[in-house]
């Protein structure tokens, strides 16, 4: 018979839960360093590949294989060291990596996808099948599956099926096609052969299975919209209106088969053929998938452009009409026009209500019919202001996701619900994408700043300087601005589609923001020193970023503006280039931007960059949670400070100087760079109060009741305040009365490696006051550039990727915050106190009314 412990072990093993091995803080820290080193190397290679594929270099497949080989090896080291650090607790990460790796290798070798499905449901689409459904289906599936947007149910007849149909009917041989696609190709004959062709039995069965499943999603009669989804359609190339769409098709194999043939044949129509040849494709090269989507019985439909192609600043354009969207899409109706602000909520800036004399509707038995619109409805807006705002919101969300302006078809069903039917890139005039037209006199070319910083992405731009002092001000950045910030931050992704350039005082070439800027092809320079002081908010400047550095000129220097970024735009017209550049999609984009979100998971990793980000963040979390394990058996020394903080130190590597075998050390003997900075803040004059704050009766009761919570809440090292230190690392765990703080920080000369993790939980007062204290902390930390998340009575905040000096400044502030907030909750009697105390704290006024004149005297370490 097994005893309880054996049963537990069996269950744990069965569930695949691996208990964490207890390791020394030194070993843990070394494992963490291994992870950092290998992830940094991987990011450098990603940067190199991104630079090489930006259109300024001639490269070949050998280069791609070699570079990807290096990247694979480096990423393997990252994964192995991460698995060691986390005792293999994220097995899903391997699976995700394998899938991305397969896609990249296929993209390099131009190999066909491995999946051979003839029919795939949009909701089931994964990375292994994404290459077989064409660009349009991939986009629409992504909107439903990843963004959770309302999209009608659909299955896709894959490119594999299209190839099988053409082969089964021997289209090319029967059309006498032997040579390459060209003017002499018998396109009309090929179209006819496709329209008259036999449906291969296997494909027919697959479509029938798809229809059976799709019919379950229909409320009553099931009708479909059958749309094309060619290889690159709605990817880099829009193919807008090039291929056939058949609406309101009965969901039976005969009707769907006929519509399928019609869409497939449109690949060989004269318009699409010319379009494909313009962008470097032979006709036979373009694989075609076909989407079978449940037809929306639309009350109103239309198109939304996430940007105004006419150049109206910060606008979204919506065209709408009653009934089905055919008239709007094809430009036939006198549709309603709305120009909407890009704010939240979106506001209608301009509207023109069309005469809408007719509308397209679903005809009974299939197809569409045109009916007259009742007179009273003709000049009535087809959308309410709320629906306009909702559609604009969807457009901004989709643009943010695909990171380029979008042209989106939508429909509103009988219940008033907005559904997205398709999304494709909106080709904007080059002049609008590059810079706003701002007539201004030319200026003498005497630069304000000459050749400073590091070049992340080359290019020239002109615009007004927007100095970002507070992350919250990001919402005020306008299109065409030059964003100038103290630090780089991946949160700038929110404005990357808008700004003309980004310049930061600090930052690294391999930061997440740098990768995003390359992806956006946004002229960017980092580590420029003091641009936030050199440049003036609102000033018009011209920024020239070359291979090495940035030079800034006052005003508009027109002759500089026609150069940057031409290479990649030029190369976009080459099919071979687009195919190779496509592999960057699996490598460079960063989708896991916010580690504090719940969807920061292995499953959400879509690129190698995401995987590296996940590894880094979870390694930090591991360090935070485990550094203190087993410290009780270690030799600890007491830290003697002028305040009674009660901290003991464990040195895991050059964190103390001349400590010898002493049982107590002074602040002067602390060699750990981050801990020294924290101590400096903690003992700053006035921030530490030694006397008790008078508790009100309900606070006193709360403190009595919470005593039991404190013991059992699982907070590590609840019995003492401990700092595990090395020269460039501290893991500080503080217990002050009824609240706990964990501060974990790596602070080195390499900005990319640096992080601060700060967690504050608990308190003796009632929940309202404790919440106010957390709001106070969140407010201060936001001003300091931290991102934070409130969770119950706990706040978690983090900051990463900044240089050592900046790190020390932030740690000083955290030290002050730690001391200042010890009993602050008891003083926060109303919500207004939060803002008052925040402003006082940020202005260096640490006194509290009841304590005036009683703070601890200054004694810096």
């Amino acid at each position: 018979m097994k005893n309880a412990a054996e049963w537990f072990t069996t269950i744990v093993r069965h569930l695949g839960i691996r208990p964490r091995r207890r390791v020394s803080p030194e070993a843990l820290f070394l494992q963490f360093r291994d992870v950092l080193n290998s992830t940094n190397r991987s990011l450098e290679i990603i940067t190199d590949i991104g630079d090489t594929l930006n259109g300024d270099y001639l490269f070949d497949v050998q280069y791609l294989r070699r570079s990807y080989g290096d990247l694979s090896a480096s990423l393997e080291r990252s994964l192995a060291s991460f698995e060691k650090l986390t005792s293999g607790r994220y097995p899903r990460l391997r699976t995700v990596h394998r899938s991305i790796d397969e896609n990249i290798r296929r993209a390099i070798d131009g190999a066909s996808p491995q999946r051979r499905d003839l029919v795939v449901f949009a909701g089931d689409l994964d990375d292994s099948s994404a290459n077989t459904v064409g660009g349009k289906a991939r986009n629409i599936a992504e909107l439903g599956n990843r963004l959770g947007l309302p999209v009608p149910a659909a299955f896709i007849i894959t490119t594999q099926a299209g190839g099988a149909y053409l082969r089964h009917n021997r289209i090319q041989e029967r059309a006498g096609l032997t040579g390459e696609a060209g003017d002499g190709m018998p396109y009309e004959e090929m179209q006819e052969l496709i329209l008259q062709g036999d449906m291969p039995a296997e494909l027919g069965r697959a479509i029938e299975r798809g229809l059976r499943r799709l019919r379950k999603s229909c409320d009553s009669d099931c009708y479909l919209a059958i749309r094309s989804s060619a290889g690159e359609e709605d990817g880099d190339l829009s193919f807008a209106g090039q291929f056939e769409t058949v609406l309101n098709v009965p969901a039976d194999i005969s009707a769907v088969g006929k519509a399928y043939r019609k869409v497939l044949a449109s690949l060989f129509a004269p318009g699409p053929v010319a379009y494909q040849r313009r962008f470097g494709y032979g006709t036979a090269d373009m694989p075609m998938a076909v989407i079978c989507m449940i037809m929306v019985d639309a009350a109103a439909s239309g198109v939304v452009y996430s940007r105004d192609p006419q150049g109206a600043k910060d606008s979204i354009v919506i065209n709408a009409a009653w009934g089905l969207g055919t008239s709007v899409v094809e430009g036939g109706a006198d549709a309603d026009y709305f120009r909407v602000s890009r704010g939240d909520p979106a506001r209608i800036l301009e509207q023109h209500i069309g005469a809408k004399a007719s509308l397209a509707v679903r005809a009974s038995g299939g197809g569409t019919a045109t009916l007259p619109v009742p007179v009273h409805a003709r000049t009535r807006p087809s959308l309410s202001p709320e629906q306009v705002a909702g559609i604009a919101g969807l457009a901004m969300q989709i643009e943010q996701h695909f990171r380029r302006p979008q042209d989106i078809e939508w429909a509103i069903d009988g219940s008033g619900k907005v559904l997205v039917l398709q999304a494709r890139p909106l080709r904007m005039p080059e002049s609008l994408l590059q810079r706003p037209a701002r007539p201004a006199p030319e200026v003498p070319e005497v630069p304000i700043a000459r050749r400073q910083g590091l070049s992340v992405h080359q290019g020239t731009a002109t615009g007004r300087v927007f100095i970002l002092r507070n992350p919250a001000d990001l919402a005020r950045v306008s299109r065409g601005d030059i964003l100038v910030a103290r630090h780089d931050a991946s949160q700038f992704v929110r404005v990357m589609a808008d700004v003309a350039a980004i310049i930061t005082d600090t930052g690294a070439l391999t930061s997440h923001m740098a990768s995003l800027c390359r992806e956006f092809r946004l002229p960017t320079a980092v580590n420029t020193g003091d641009m936030t002081r050199t440049l003036v908010h609102g000033q018009q400047v011209t920024v020239q970023i070359d291979e090495q550095a940035v030079t800034v000129y006052p005003g508009v220097v027109d002759h500089l503006l026609d150069r940057g970024g031409a290479g990649s735009r030029l190369m976009e017209d080459l099919a071979e280039y687009r195919k190779k550049r496509y592999l960057l999609r699996y490598i460079a984009p960063l989708n896991l931007v916010d580690p504090l979100r719940d969807d920061f998971t292995p499953k959400a990793c879509r690129t190698l960059h995401d995987i590296l980000r996940f590894i880094h963040e979870k390694s930090v979390a591991e360090l935070v949670d485990r550094t203190g394990e087993g410290w009780q058996s270690r030799r600890a020394v007491k830290l003697d400070l002028p305040i009674p903080a009660g901290i003991v130190l464990i040195d895991i590597g050059d964190g103390l100087e001349n400590a010898g075998s002493r049982e107590q050390v002074t602040a002067e003997q602390v060699a750990s760079v981050p801990l020294r900075a924290v101590i400096r803040g903690m003992v700053h004059p006035g921030v530490w109060r030694s006397e008790a704050v008078p508790l009100r009766a309900n606070d006193f009761m709360t403190s009595m009741l919470r005593a039991s919570d404190i013991v059992t809440d699982g907070a590590p090292r609840a019995s003492a305040s401990v700092a595990v230190v090395s020269r460039d690392y501290v893991n500080l765990s503080l217990k002050f009365g009824y609240h706990f703080i964990i501060l974990d920080c790596f602070c080195s000369e390499v900005a990319r490696n640096n992080h601060i993790y700060f967690r504050f939980a608990g308190g003796a007062t009632d929940i309202t006051k404790r919440s106010r204290r957390l709001q106070f902390i969140a407010g201060v930390l936001q001003e300091q550039g931290f991102s934070s998340k409130l969770k119950g009575d706990m706040i978690i905040a983090r900051l990463a990727n900044i240089g050592r000096e900046e790190m020390e400044a932030r740690l000083d502030v955290l030290g002050r915050l730690i001391s200042f907030t010890r009993q602050l909750d008891a003083m926060l009697h109303d919500d207004g106190a939060v803002e008052r105390h925040k402003n006082n704290f940020l202005n260096g006024a640490y006194g509290l009314p009841f304590l005036r004149g009683k703070q601890m005297p200054r004694k810096d370490p």
């Binding site: 300024d56 270099y57 070949d60 050998q62 470097g280 030029l570």
Partner: protein
């Protein structure tokens, strides 16, 4: 004004396509070839101011292209590009009077500058 004629030989289509597009933007007349055989046949019909060739190709490789060009058109400058950069290859090419030698990936602006220098000589 006559455009300078540039020949680009590389067994990978993407190299020729990218070179052609960017050099034509700068006003050169560019012809691309996927192998040495076709390129040398064209050279018999038509002289080129500059030949940009891959070093390692199946069949007629870059060194053979270089030797043939120098024999048939001594004034034509040859620029060698290669994914297999090593010192021996560079020395061999320089002995054969190559104008320039670039490891891939080749920065297009540097290639253009090299072509302009070749045309100035």
């Amino acid at each position: 004004m006559n455009k300078h004629k540039i020949m680009v030989i590389d067994d990978e289509k993407i190299v020729g396509d990218m070179a052609k597009l960017s050099l034509e933007t700068d006003g050169f007349a560019v012809e691309t070839f996927l192998n040495g055989e076709a390129a040398l046949a064209r050279l018999k019909e038509q002289p080129f101011a500059v030949v940009v060739t891959d070093y390692k190709m199946k069949g007629i490789d870059g060194m053979e292209v270089l030797r043939t060009v120098k024999k048939q058109h001594p004034g034509t400058k040859v620029i060698m590009i290669t994914a297999f950069a090593n010192l021996d290859a560079a020395i061999e090419a320089l002995r054969g009077d190559v104008h320039d030698f670039f490891p891939k990936p080749v920065k297009i602006n540097e290639l253009k500058a090299s072509i302009r220098r070749a045309l100035e000589k």
